[in-house]
């Protein structure tokens, strides 16, 4: 039994079958990559995991509990954090505040009326946020408005926000898209480091094969809403079905 069990999930948008009968099992403390051509349904699958979309059929179990029917914030509180394909950050707030908010969310839950306390009087949260920013090399930008960051920095910030929650399962939707090569390598190192330091399961969608092969222990190939193969990285290279998926139906 994996920490994440997706069974027979399908999702239809009007006439488009975005997901058709997807089965996926992600083992605890592994990095599982999902690859596939544009429009394969990768992001849609993640949306079904975090409560952004409700699948038409099937079940999604996380850590032994069903996530279906739960609100997004409840699912996050279960231990799932997600980095989005287009950065979702608090653009009007400073970088530092962006990282403090998830720290508060993890410590205090979905709502707490801490109206007369002072942010400055929260040494634990401040320290946690500072450490996290240092980990992504953004401590020098702590007072910058998050909205004015470059795309790559926004992604790194979002990753810091998610990591600061110490999630059991981290979902990463193209985390290095829009990043310079050096930053991509830093990101790979960061994720590896986090992985070594504590128990965490990661599910990563990525087009950059360098990232995929540096991190992934299992790889699922998704095409037109259905998983084609699930394999180890060694066995995936040159797999005929993978080529087929990437080169398209024209070949068949």
């Amino acid at each position: 039994m994996g920490i994440l069990e997706v069974k027979n999930v399908s999702k239809r948008f009007g006439g488009l079958q975005a997901l058709g009968d997807v089965n996926l099992s992600v083992a605890e403390n592994t990095v599982h990559a999902i690859i596939g051509p544009n429009g394969a349904g990768k992001s849609t699958l993640l949306n079904c995991l975090i409560g952004k979309l409700i699948p038409d059929t099937g079940s999604v179990m996380f850590d032994g509990n069903s996530v279906l029917g739960r609100k997004p914030y409840e699912i996050n509180q279960m231990g799932i954090s997600r980095v989005f394909q287009t950065p979702e950050i608090f653009a009007d707030l400073t970088v530092f505040e962006n990282v403090m908010i998830p720290c508060f969310a993890t410590r205090d839950g979905a709502f707490r009326m801490h109206a007369l306390e002072s942010v400055a009087n929260e040494p634990d949260i401040v320290e946690q946020a500072e450490t996290m920013l240092a980990d992504v090399n953004m401590l020098d930008k702590r007072n910058v408005h998050a909205g004015s960051l470059s795309r790559g920095d926004k992604r790194r910030l979002e990753m810091a926000m998610c990591l600061s929650q110490q999630p059991k399962l981290l979902l990463l939707d193209e985390p290095t898209a829009g990043m310079a090569r050096a930053d991509t390598n830093n990101t790979i190192d960061l994720l590896k480091e986090i992985k070594d330091k504590r128990d965490i399961t990661m599910c990563i969608i990525e087009h950059d094969m360098h990232v995929v092969f540096s991190l992934a222990e299992r790889i699922t190939v998704l095409a037109q809403g259905t998983p084609l193969v699930e394999e180890t990285p060694e066995n995936i290279k040159g797999h005929p079905k993978v080529r087929e998926a990437y080169l398209g139906e024209a070949q068949v």
């Binding site: 609100k71 997600r82 979702e88 009007d92 908010i101 508060f104 969310a105 109206a115 306390e117 002072s118």
Partner: protein, 406 residues
């Protein structure tokens, strides 16, 4: 100090000093001089400055932090006013119970309206709050007459029970509002040369309440809760996917701002025990929106400045008439005098709304951060010119320049 950082403590100190010395600051012109009409240091107007300041400070907690634009906050001010008058009718003329009950009633009322209105956001939220407020106004005006006094408004009478006080005083008149015996209308007048300064008990009670309200607002702004409210404004999706439920945060902000409105209503009737339905009218709700935006939504001091400016214009600029204008321009040749008077006339007296409208447009277009942004820009120019201004002095100096009306 008081759990505030240095900058906020400085700001609070400046506001404390300004409110304390307002009777001097607002009366800079000698009595009887032609400029005396610009003096705003009389009790009635000074009370209004701080009471509407409270209303705007509270409104800003909702609008400035979460971005939810309520067009119905006057309903809570009205509800607070009615509740306050009822306390004076039933219990005592001491203002404390009246103020407390005003806040509680407005809080409960805003919980109900907020709970329903916050099911929608953006323009739909605004329209829902507007609809509720207009409904409250209409009800207060008609069906609820037994509670609200309908068209005439809710007044004290000689037959009121006033369990803890007296129904009527020895000489057969209605007792006056007081704070443990200190009458709100009590004033001490001080003549210094040609100047006349009035120190009014009611004003100082209102000012003390306003300072507490302002202090609480600073604490809320600097709290994790305040940060969450800004997160609501910035990205509710991200909040949801970060394990935070934006709804109770927004509702809490709505209720807090409703309680501030109730507090303002309670103080209003503590100064003048009379409540009418027109306090709930939509223009009253719109006014607090103007105050907040004009001063600077989302800033600490902005709403107070906006409230002061609008109340100043409403009470002072509106009183200037063409005779006064002719006096001013009398030194000019007749033709030019008439021309100037004709040009200026539409903007003063009853035309003060026009001036306000133009100012509002200019601020929204050129200073989206309101008067506070204007002050900051001037401050920055100033600092660039003489690089002596240190980090703490400069903002304080800025505040000083920005607070003429308060």
């Amino acid at each position: 100090m008081l759990g505030l950082n240095r900058k906020d403590a400085m700001l609070l100190m400046v506001v404390v000093l300004l409110t304390l010395f307002a009777p001097f600051l607002l009366n800079p012109f000698p009595e009887g001089s032609s400029l005396a009409q610009f003096n705003a240091g009389y009790p009635d107007l000074m009370q209004r400055f701080v009471i509407f300041g409270i209303f705007a400070i509270g409104f800003n907690i909702l609008f400035g932090l979460t971005g939810y634009l309520s067009f119905g906050h006057a309903a809570f001010l009205g509800a607070g006013s009615y509740a306050g008058v009822w306390m004076m009718k039933l219990l005592t003329m001491n203002v404390i119970p009246a103020i407390i009950v005003s806040v509680v009633v407005a809080g409960l009322f805003s919980l109900l309206i907020g709970f329903i209105s916050l099911r929608r956001s953006g323009i739909y939220f605004s329209i829902l709050t507007l609809a509720f407020a207009q409904m409250s106004f209409a009800l207060a005006y008609s069906v609820l007459t037994p509670i609200t006094g309908g068209e005439t408004g809710l007044q004290l009478s000689l037959n009121d029970p006033r369990i803890l006080g007296v129904s009527s005083t020895g000489d057969g008149s209605i007792p006056v509002t007081n704070l443990f015996g200190l009458e709100m209308r009590d004033s001490f007048e001080w003549e210094v040369g040609a100047w006349l300064f009035t120190f009014n008990a009611g004003y100082y009670v209102c000012a003390a309440v306003m300072l507490v309200a302002f202090y609480v607002a600073i604490r809320i702004f600097r709290s994790p809760f305040g940060m969450m409210l800004r997160a609501v404004k910035s990205n509710q999706q991200r909040m949801n996917y970060t394990g935070l439920n934006p709804k109770p945060y927004t509702l809490a902000a709505f209720v807090i701002s409703g309680m501030y409105a109730g507090l303002a209503g309670g103080l209003m009737v503590s100064m003048d025990p009379l409540a009418g339905a027109e306090r709930m009218f939509w223009t009253a709700s719109g006014e607090v929106v103007l105050m907040t935006i004009l001063g600077g939504a989302g800033t600490l001091i902005g709403p107070v400045l906006g409230a002061g400016l609008i109340k100043y214009m409403e009470n002072i600029v509106s009183k200037i008439n063409s005779t006064i204008l002719h006096e001013w321009f009398a030194f000019m040749p007749d033709g030019i005098e008439d021309l100037l008077v004709t040009l200026v006339y539409p903007f003063i007296g009853k035309g003060w709304h026009l001036t306000l409208g133009i100012m509002f447009m200019l601020v929204v277009i050129f200073l989206p951060g309101g008067l506070v942004e204007g002050g900051q820009r001037i401050g920055r120019l100033f600092r660039r010119r003489d690089r002596k201004g240190t980090g703490v002095e400069a903002p304080a100096a800025e505040q000083r320049r920005k607070t003429p009306a308060e």
